[in-house]
Each structure stands twice: as structure tokens, then as C-alpha cells.
Amino acid sequence: MRFAPTEEQAEFRSAVKALLADTCDIVAVRASWGGEVGRHTDVGQGNGRVERAWKGLADMGVLGLLVPEADGGMGMTQDAFVGIAVEAGYAGLPDPLIETAAVAPPVLASSSEPLASEILARIACGEVTVGVGFGESPIVPCASTADWFLILTGSAAHLLDASAADITPLSSVDGARHLGRVNWNADDSTVVVSSDSDAVALAAARNAAATFSAAALVGLSHRMIDMTVEYVGERRQFGVPIGSFQAVKHELADAALGVEFAEPLAFNAAHLLSVGEDATVAASMAKSRASRSSQVASDVCLQLHGAIGYTVEHDLHLFMKRAWALSRQYGDFRTHRAVVRRALLED
């Protein structure tokens, strides 16, 4: 089985990396925060969106990558998206890219409802964002700006018009997250896919959410490690950069090693989603490892930044707090590890 990216997929990824480096820089990420952003009196006015980056992603074809060609997309598979999710994590892109471009399209594409097809076309051209939630009263990231909600219960996928939905805003440690609880009552009129018609698509949506948030965590971890390597090369103690001390090097090496092992798991899960095989265990392996290694990376990077790392003004917070939130979203380390453990015991 080969799950390394093709040459074309690697080119897609580097195009996205260049786009996000320009359009989603640190200033844009900080501006997207709605909570505490700097001095204790400063509260960000951001809505969790970086519009310029989103438009660039639409023009490039990222948003329509997994949308069927018949609906105006490129009709590609999940293995083409996983590297892009890593780059979105690396850039700290706060927008609901994973949900809109990678979780929702395959579910909507498996629906026979005309509305699903219409939303797919609007996703591809960057007109709408989709917030994704699981369960009866889901907590959804980017809830305040989402145009549509795709809510997956055990038995069906529901598509809700966000303008008609009742949302209770919730606070998050990540100020760009704009979490909200969607209050709604399941109703047959909002069903786009039911487990009777396509149980595979519903299961795949859960696995895609875990897989691509794992990929984003890998990118976030890489970013934190890069920032910290730069910092320990500049910060001097006892007349030398602190990065020259073995204790510092080993901490960073441990953090980097964890991320290196987590990344292929996400690529493997994306490959299984692409070929239509059951990715449940692979996605859980990816999400549990990525969550764990991002936790290690966060702790190490915070520690090595010393006191300055504890200040909200420091850029490390933008990535560290995203990692904290993302590592618990769509199933945390323990939940996914339990899935893997059960699968092992059953074999």
C-alpha cells in the first residue's frame, strides 16, 4: 500500500503553503481572535475568519477539491487534501476549512437531495462555509459565521440553514474558535443522508473529521517546534544560545520525533478514505497520536520559551491554544486510543 503523496499532490500542497504564508500571516491569525489577544484589557474583534485566505483557497481550487466535477469541483479524493490540512494547521488558519472542504463534500455528494447538490456548488466557489457537529446538541467551531450546519447523529446527516438556527455562543481557550452550541430538533425535513441509505458515508464523515484534524495538529506542532528552534537559537544564557544545551536539544528532538511518527498515520487514514475502505481504526490511530504528540510539542515549546511563553502577547499562544482545542475536538486522545484498543482486542 502506498500512501505517500503523488508529485501532483505535493505541488498542490506547496501552492497552498505559499498562499497561506502570504494571506494568513501571524497578524491575520491574531486579528481573527475574538477573546483576549494582548494586554488584559484588549479584546479582539475578529470573527474567526481570514477572508483573504479563504478567497485565495477558493480561487486556487482547494474548496472544490473534493466536490464532484458535476457540481463544479475537481472530484478528487481525500489523499489530495491531507497535506493541505497540515499546511492549514501550520499557518494557523482559523476558518472551517476541514469541515467545509473535506468533511461535508463527500457526505453531501452521497445525498440525492437537490439542496445538497446546490450547497456543494456553493462550497466549491467559496460562497458558503459549513460547520460540522456530531450528536444531538453539537458544539460546533466557527458557529457564529457558518452559513450551513452539517449535523451528524447516529442515524442521519442533517443539513441546517444557519440563519434559521438557534446558537448559544460558548467560550474557547482558542480565541479564534468562535464555538457555539447548535440548539435544534431532529426533523425528517433536514435529513440529507440517512444510515438506511448510506451508512458508509456517515461513518466516513466521522473518520474524515478525525483524520484531517490530526493532520492539522501535525502542522500546528511543526509550527510550534519551528518557532521554538528559532527562539532557542536567539535566546542566550551563560554567554551561548540556549539551544546549544543538550537538555534543550533533547526536549525538542522528542517533540519532533512524536510529530514525525504522527504524520504518516494521518496520510494512511486519508488514503483509506480515498479508496473507500473502512478508516475507523486508522483515523483513530492518527487522531490519538497527533493529539498526544501535539500535547508534548505544546508543553516542550512553552517550557523552552521560558517566561515570555506565558504571555498572551506571544505568538506561540495562537498555535498552542489551537492545538489544545483541536486535540480534544472530534474525539480526544483517550477516546481514539480506546477505539484502537478495542480493535486490537477483537482481532
Partner: protein, 262 residues
């Protein structure tokens, strides 16, 4: 009116990876993966915009690179250029600016009738800044340098030419060779469809002989310059570090007074 534009693009080692000089040849090592010189991406963008505005025509790339390198050309093709002429030949190793210009001039002729030839003002790895004018001379075409904007009006090219004080309005009949400054347009990002399409766009790979040039006129043989010596640039001396025991400001004042700035 359809407009055909040739853009000269250079493929260079990634500036993010510090380049190395070969002590034997005294030239830049170019055996790494090459990418499109960012300075040329502005010319490509300008050409694409002019073709769009003209409502027809196409952009053709011309490049000279070792080992049939197409990495940078593919980037420009993904942006929207239609085709490319790539000159790659062992005989070109060691070419100076004039040798390069001779090759590019022949390659531009091979690319077909162009209404306009666009180049950067200089490459990001060589910095001679003389190739555009040499190409114009060899082709017998008017040359306008440092263009910050280009407008086509029938058979006339109107250029705002960057100067230290502002800009000059300069006109020339087509065809002409124009070098554009960096930062005047925002180069587009290649779209995924563009990246896929670039793979099937034609790249005409030619040798020095295919261009009808004598191998002695280019490369080391034809170079009229000789690189005598290469040396590491002197590093700047470290500044003076003052331990501030509460009187540090006085030393700064003294330092500035010594410089006679206060």
C-alpha cells in the same frame, strides 16, 4: 487584437537554501533543484494580464538552464503561460551575460513572432542586469528598462519607466524588449487546474546547435569575462556592548557626540 508575448524566465537555486560557489569553476553550483526566479514571476504576471486585456494571444516562456531543468518553467506554465522553449546544453556552462543574451535572442526568434518580449530587470542569483539590453540589441529591437506599468495602444507600447525621482513616460513601437521591476503587479498563485494543465503544455527542448549558434560563441569558450578570484565577503565587526549600570546613557551620548551627530 491578439497579442503574443515572450517572457524570459530564469530558473535558479532556491534562495531559501544558501547557495554555494564552486571553487574550481568559481561559479554558483546549480546542480540542485531549480525554481522560478521570483523576479521573473512579475514579468509572467504582467504578460498574462496584457494578453487578457488584448483579448487573445498567448504567453511563451524562454529559459536557459542546465540538465533540462523544467521545475521553474512548470510554475510559470501553471500560472497560465501556454508553452516554453528551454535551451539546455553542456556547451553553455560558464556563459557570461553576453553569451546568455545570444542564446536567449535565438530562442526568442524560435518561439515565433512576438509583439513584446518581457524580462526582469535582473536575476536574483546573477545580478548583472545587462541581459535585457543585450537581447534587444541582438534582436535589433527597442529596449525599455525598469517598466512599472505597460500599456499597449495599437502598435505602440506605452511604459511608465521607474526613475529615482518618479517615472518617465516612454513609448516604443512593437515589437520591443521591456524589463519590468519587481513588485509592480501581484503574481497570481497557480490554481490546481493550472498545475494539472501545466504538465501537458509543450516545452520545446533545444540545444545550442538547434539554435544555429556556434558552441565557441557561448559557454566558457565564448565568455569575454574571466572570474579571477572568489572570496568570502567580510563579516561586519561586532558592535560595542555596553553594560548598563545606570550610566549607560552617558556612553551613548558620548558615542553620538564622537560621530558629531549631536
Amino acid at each position: 487584437m491578439a497579442m503574443n508575448i515572450v517572457v524570459c524566465v530564469k530558473q535558479i537555486p532556491d534562495p531559501a537554501d544558501p547557495g554555494e560557489l564552486d571553487p574550481n569553476t568559481k561559479t554558483l553550483k546549480r546542480d540542485v533543484k531549480l525554481i522560478l526566479d521570483e523576479a521573473d514571476s512579475y514579468g509572467v504576471e504582467m504578460a498574462l494580464q496584457l494578453v487578457d486585456a488584448a483579448g487573445g494571444g498567448e504567453v511563451t516562456l524562454v529559459s536557459m538552464a542546465p540538465d533540462d531543468e523544467v521545475g521553474g518553467i512548470r510554475t510559470a506554465l501553471a500560472m497560465g503561460a501556454a508553452k516554453a522553449v528551454l535551451v539546455s546544453d553542456e556547451a553553455l556552462v560558464g556563459s557570461d551575460a553576453l553569451g546568455t543574451a545570444k542564446v536567449l535572442a535565438k530562442a526568442i526568434e524560435r518561439a515565433g513572432d512576438a509583439d513584446l518580449v518581457i524580462t526582469a530587470t535582473e536575476s536574483s542569483d546573477g545580478y548583472t542586469g545587462t541581459v535585457p539590453e543585450q537581447v534587444a540589441e541582438l534582436l535589433g529591437l527597442p529596449s525599455i528598462t525598469f517598466a512599472k506599468s505597460i500599456e499597449v495602444d495599437g502598435n505602440t507600447i506605452k511604459v511608465k519607466r521607474q526613475t529615482e525621482a518618479g517615472y518617465d513616460d516612454v513609448e516604443a513601437p512593437t515589437p520591443a524588449v521591456i524589463s519590468v521591476t519587481a513588485g509592480v503587479v501581484e503574481p497570481r498563485y497557480p490554481s490546481f487546474k493550472g498545475i494539472m494543465a501545466a504538465k501537458s503544455k509543450p516545452v520545446d527542448e533545444v540545444t545550442v546547435a538547434d539554435l544555429g549558434l556556434d558552441a565557441d560563441a557561448v559557454g566558457w569558450a565564448g565568455a569575454r569575462q574571466e572570474i579571477v578570484e572568489i572570496a568570502t565577503a567580510e563579516t561586519r565587526e561586532a558592535g560595542t556592548i555596553i553594560e548598563d549600570e545606570g550610566e549607560g546613557y552617558a556612553q551613548i551620548v558620548d558615542f553620538l557626540a564622537d560621530l558629531k551627530v549631536i
